[in-house]
């Protein structure tokens, strides 16, 4: 739904900035839309495809008027919108403690971003943005995931610290990291995260382990960030 205007508005050319087996990442104007296969990870900036085919890719893609176009042929049409934003009325400190304990029962998977970095984030979120942005391996580096988790949790709680961190991220993210990761940070700035992280924020049973198992390192860092954002 963050991508509502990009998909529902006028038809515009889309450029493939990255492609994987379960997702095609399209840049449209300043925005980014991930075309995700049905059982792929539902990123907050994703358009999830209902069928079983892999997401389309190519040079002639466009988005608009409710559809994804290949040339002048609609290859997928929006049949339903979802809102990835999370809003919490309150945070249970006990649940936050449990989350942090579960996260730190496992070691930090990316050596570039250690538990020291998590501690530094907890101490002063705004101050470590520069250090964390773009830090680590993968299309969504560990440092970005950590920031995104923290920011999303702060936004979901409508905590005052959300604006401080949000402003710092907005100012510094562009060019410092991949376009996808920047889009995910922007989503986190609206309290929007993948469903696995939303489930953790809503304290659903089993959610923490499912998030920790997500991706190669993303899950752990998102979860660590959520824990910091809930405790701040």
């Amino acid at each position: 739904m963050l991508v509502h205007d990009l998909l529902a508005g006028p038809v515009r050319r889309a450029t493939v900035v990255a492609a994987g087996p379960a997702a095609t990442y399209l840049a449209v104007g300043d925005g980014l839309v991930a075309l995700v296969a049905r059982h792929g990870v539902r990123l907050p900036c994703a358009a999830v495809l209902a069928g079983d085919d892999p997401p389309p890719t190519g040079d002639d893609l466009a988005l608009g008027e409710g559809s994804v176009w290949d040339g002048d042929r609609p290859v997928a049409t929006v049949r339903r919108w979802f809102d990835p934003r999370v809003r919490l009325t309150e945070v249970d400190p006990e649940a936050t403690r449990r989350l942090a304990a579960r996260v730190h029962a496992r070691p930090a998977p990316d050596p570039a971003v250690s538990t020291d970095a998590v501690a530094a984030l907890a101490a002063d979120p705004g101050a470590v943005v520069d250090d964390l942005l773009g830090r680590g391996g993968g299309l969504t580096p560990a440092g970005d995931d950590l920031l995104a988790g923290c920011l999303a949790a702060l936004r979901a709680r409508r905590a005052p610290a959300a604006e401080v961190l949000g402003r710092a991220v907005r100012r510094q993210a562009k060019g410092r990291t991949s376009r996808l990761s920047a889009a995910l940070l922007a989503a986190a700035d609206q309290g929007a995260v993948v469903p696995e992280a939303a489930a953790v924020l809503r304290d659903e049973p089993g959610a923490t382990d499912r998030l920790l198992d997500l991706g190669h390192t993303s899950g752990w860092y998102l979860a660590a960030g959520l824990a910091v954002g809930c405790a701040t």
Binding site: W81, D83, G134, G137, L139
Partner: protein
């Protein structure tokens, strides 16, 4: 010694695939060093440490760096990398043939993440399936009608005891977080939650709000009989509480035919106790219209409510009676209330006053008549007119004069192109057609396309049934005036 560093901008692969590709390349004879990776700062460091010149690349770019004893070795390494990257895994096919679930319990055991069961078996069987759903710990939507009152009460009491919601019986529309079950329009999840004892009433409201750019997040159908005295609003009250607790819902609207007095009281009390503002929108004689309700929802949100969309110009008034052809029961009820207010007694096959009742096969004899073609009597053994508008088209084509007021309902479950069925009838009809088009911009039928097709065939089209009914009354008055002149 031969070396190559290739950069492919915007080409992405995940790190595991890239590691496999690197490993495959390293296995080629004569290969000394190979790194296939996205050019993140970390990987840039690795490339430098491996003695490769720094590539002009960013985190979104793929770098393949190879060093080998000669060019052939390097080529072989690159080819190996490409082979691995070319494997593109499709989603795995469905598992080997397994035993299909023959009961709700078996299905529930198979999918513990299926929180909702949709029951649409014939009425006499619905209670058992719905009870099974509740006992399996799931919420249940009962599309089926013809369920005994006792069964409905038993179901809702058991649901309440188990903390599960019973949506129905006779519930055709449910929307949960933007997902539509049954007949539902494509909505943008927004700040509105609906409690609906009327499916098409909820659909009209969704359409009106969509037209104003206001999204609806949930529609909790509670079944047409929920607000009667014996059922006491059990599901409506639970639904109200649930929506109130959802932090995303900023205003709740309750759509129904007028509830039994004691239930109306309970509803009012419950609404007052909600932290979220509640707009009560009963539909019937003396009640505000759904258009009014939509406006009030907008006002509660502090959002503007522009005049609802209309398409086309008014058709030429023709002398003759008023005929209403409705697929949505609440649309018929709302129109009935509005028109009786404007033009006096109107007959209907769903009129609460037995003196004004008319059967759908009876000859109206020139009196104003509104027919609910979706009524149970008419749909036994036939598809509902929302699915197949042919019965509407037949009667429309046969009208010799006057005004025909009809509704066209879009969305999931409805006919894929109702206009195509109605256009020939619009061409043939002797009456002035006024259409209420219930739908949203995202509906699969294409709201604008349907409106254009209908207006091209001579109808005037409104999102608002209140406006449409007003038009119809106006056309009648004009035709009387003309006749008098």
């Amino acid at each position: 010694m031969s070396e190559l560093v290739r950069v492919e901008q915007g080409r992405y692969h995940d790190s595991v695939t890239l590691m496999r590709a690197s490993a495959a390349a390293s296995a080629e004879p004569g290969v000394e060093a190979v790194i296939a990776a996205m050019a993140t700062p970390l990987n840039q460091d690795l490339l430098r440490e491996a003695g490769f010149p720094p590539p002009a690349a960013g985190p979104d770019d793929l770098v393949m760096a190879v060093r080998g004893v000669d060019e052939a070795a390097v080529d072989a390494a690159l080819a190996a990398i490409e082979r691995v990257l070319a494997e593109r895994r499709r989603s795995s096919p469905a598992g080997a043939a397994r035993v299909p679930p023959h009961t709700v319990e078996a299905a529930a055991a198979e999918r513990t993440d299926a929180g909702v069961v949709l029951v649409s078996v014939p009425g006499p069987y619905a209670y058992v399936e719905a009870a099974a759903a509740l006992r399996a710990g799931r919420h249940v939507m009962v599309f089926s009608d013809g369920v005994d009152l006792d069964a409905e009460v038993a179901l809702k009491r058991e649901g309440a005891a188990r903390g599960r919601l019973v949506m129905g019986p006779d519930c055709g529309t449910v929307i949960l977080g933007g997902v539509g079950l049954g007949f539902a329009n494509v909505v943008v999840p927004g700040p509105v939650g609906l409690v609906a004892a009327s499916g098409t009433g909820a659909q009209q409201l969704c359409g009106l709000l969509d037209g104003a750019g206001i999204g609806v997040r949930h529609v909790l159908g509670v079944g047409g009989r929920d607000l009667s005295a014996p059922v006491g609003g059990l599901s409506a009250l639970a639904a109200l509480e649930a929506l109130d607790a959802d932090p995303h819902v900023e205003v709740i609207a309750v759509v129904s035919k007028p509830p039994a007095p004691e239930v109306a009281d309970a509803l009012a009390v419950a609404a007052a106790a909600c932290a979220t503002p509640v707009v009560l929108a009963p539909v019937g004689p003396g009640c505000p219209t759904l258009t009014d309700a939509a406006a009030e929802v907008a006002r509660t949100l502090g959002r503007p409510f522009p005049e609802p969309d209309t398409w086309g110009v008014g058709p030429v008034p023709r002398p003759g009676p008023l005929l209403g052809l409705f697929s949505g029961g609440t649309n018929c009820v709302e129109a009935l209330a509005l028109l009786e207010d404007r033009i006096g007694p109107v007959r209907s096959n769903v009129h609460p006053d037995p003196g004004r009742h008319i059967g759908p096969g009876d000859d109206p004899e020139g009196a104003p008549t509104l027919l609910d073609l979706g009524d149970d009597e008419l749909t036994a053994g036939r598809p509902h007119p929302m699915i197949d508008p042919a019965p509407v088209a037949e009667r429309l084509a046969a009208a010799r004069g006057g005004v025909v007021l009809l509704d066209v309902v879009l969305g999931h479950g409805a006919h894929p192109d109702p206009a195509s069925v109605l256009v020939p009838a619009l061409a043939a009809t002797g009456a002035a057609p006024v259409v209420t088009l219930v739908g949203t911009a995202g509906d699969p039928q294409g709201l604008d396309r349907q409106a254009q097709a209908l207006t091209a065939a001579g109808a005037v089209v409104h999102r608002s049934l209140a406006r449409a009914a007003g038009d119809a009354a106006g056309l009648l008055a004009d035709s009387y005036r003309r006749r008098a002149e």
